[in-house]
Subunit: 327 residues, 2 copies
């Protein structure tokens, strides 16, 4: 299996990306092609011992910055690591592309070069989110800020295929994020999306209220990219803020500090439970290729886990099976 990795993507690239790749090579039966500025990639790689026959480098002279206009990746920065990497995948001989770079640019390049699969109009980024009991697949978390209602039922179909194929769920159920549980809630967009999901998606359960995102019964949860992005970023920010406040409270009281010490294992388990990087990466679904998006702040561990998730997708022939499920 040969995976292309964007060496220049993310806030701590190329250091974290390459550290994660080196770890992945120890655990997973893959070859990795690193795309990026060759001298910087080589300098970083030289810090590690790694199986040299399973790593190669393809030079890309440019880097897409986090605040670049997404469309620049196909208009101006055609020699960026994202554009070069996506084109390697497109031209064959590789199984998947992994990037922690600019989300909009990754979506634009994947859509433009790989094109969409039949039956899907716009790509969506999915994410396996932890729940009180188990996990669910949330889509879209930021590829498509302003979807049409029909994009949401297509996300529902792809999400079902993903949960069935990669996560082994039988006949996965699907819910729609909405501000009320009853049919007819929300805006015109939400009502149209509801009707389409009801008509076209097997296992559709109805609306999921935002307070039930982490505790509802749906295997797959669909929403607009704007709302999905709010959900994952707000969750991240709230847990961080709660941690800050809790630490401050604990410092006021020596007994509480002792208590925190005794509870450290439980607090770490909680953190692990809500930490998306444990699941590794977020698949970009709907484009004609296996593309994995990692958080911009990915640690080496998050990169490694994203590569692991990508290997699983390739092993399960996710792309062919999603295509088949849409027919």
């Amino acid at each position: 299996m040969k995976i292309v990795v964007d060496a220049m993507g993310g806030d701590h690239a190329p250091a974290n990306v390459i550290a994660g790749v080196v770890d992945a090579l120890k655990e997973l039966p893959v070859s990795v092609t690193l795309v990026g500025m060759e001298d910087r990639v080589r300098a970083e790689l030289s810090k590690f011992a790694y199986p040299k026959d399973r790593v190669d480098i393809v030079h890309a002279a440019e880097v897409v910055d986090m605040d670049d206009n997404p469309l620049d990746v196909i208009r101006k920065k055609k020699d960026s690591s994202i554009a070069v990497g996506i084109n390697l995948l497109k031209n064959g001989g590789y199984d998947a592309f992994v990037s922690a770079g600019n989300t909009g640019a990754l979506v634009a390049a994947a859509t433009f070069y790989l094109r969409m699969i039949e039956g899907v109009d716009r790509p969506g980024i999915g994410l396996v989110i932890p729940q009180v009991d188990g996990a669910a697949f949330l889509i879209d978390v930021g590829a498509n800020a302003e979807p049409k209602p029909e994009h949401l039922y297509q996300y529902g179909l792809m999400a079902r295929a993903y949960m069935q194929i990669v996560m082994g769920r039988e006949n996965p159920s699907v819910g729609l994020v909405n501000i009320g549980e009853e049919e007819g809630k929300g805006s015109g967009f939400d009502k149209q999306a509801y009707d389409l999901l009801k008509e076209k998606v097997p296992g559709f359960l109805g609306n999921v209220e935002p307070n039930k995102i982490f505790s509802n019964k749906a295997d797959c949860i669909v929403c607009s990219g704007f709302v999905g992005n709010v959900i994952i970023k707000l969750s991240e920010g709230l847990m961080e803020s709660a941690g800050t406040v809790l630490k401050r409270e604990i410092k006021k009281n020596p007994l509480a500090m002792l208590g925190a010490l005794l509870m450290m294992g439980s607090l770490k388990s909680l953190k692990k439970n809500v930490d998306y990087s444990e699941y590794g990466g977020a698949p970009l679904l709907g484009v004609n290729g296996i593309v994995m998006k990692c958080h911009g702040r990915s640690s080496p561990k998050a990169i490694k886990n994203a590569i692991r998730a990508t290997v699983r997708e390739v092993d399960h022939h996710i792309l062919d099976k999603i295509k088949a499920s849409l027919k």
Copy 2:
């Protein structure tokens, strides 16, 4: 000061409403007119000792259910506690209306009977949300699921007036919830809202990413009612789910249980810090009257705090001052 309270609103009405009103009467210089089914209200009141000269009851034969169509309150259930209560306020002699009932129905009745103030096209529900350092005013959290961009700058102006008048903030700053920090992020709606806020709202700081909702510098944060509702419900659900997971983890380990006991004070402080009911109620701004919405699951304490917040609004002549600030 005379406040009208919807005795029948909320999941635990009339019990919680009346318990909260009785507590409020002990602490606050108000008279309360309870609107609802007279026999049920009397039966509940008879459980308490309270100053009889400061409470009266206006009978309303109907109740708006949580799943009623909001427009039914003005079409069919004209004798409901919400419609009767809003009309008492409209016809004079009362200072404000407080309800924990169906949000959509409350918004519809307030808009239809009280009408909008000059310069505001649609009402918005604001909420004082706790932050790592201090608090901010988030608007709209659910009155207007599908706003136009111009509604958002009007929310910004009203929010500034609220934070200045009621919370004593000098020259409050305003941010827009968006999925990226840079200008130009989000959908067409978000870009138009950004431009209008920049043009028309003093102190506009730009976009606030969802992971910074609880830790950013803006005094006021504006968003669509759909997104605001996702923010508050998701926060509530996430803290509950995190609590469930933490309790489960703690039970696995006796030392962690001891630790939790030692940390109880700190955990309670955290809970208090993130508990909206501490702040009491959510003002419905933009209608020509002082209307306070309480959470459907309000405890007696939340009802009491909402009445306290309402008293503060009346004391500060919030309605006249918001009207003046829009001229």
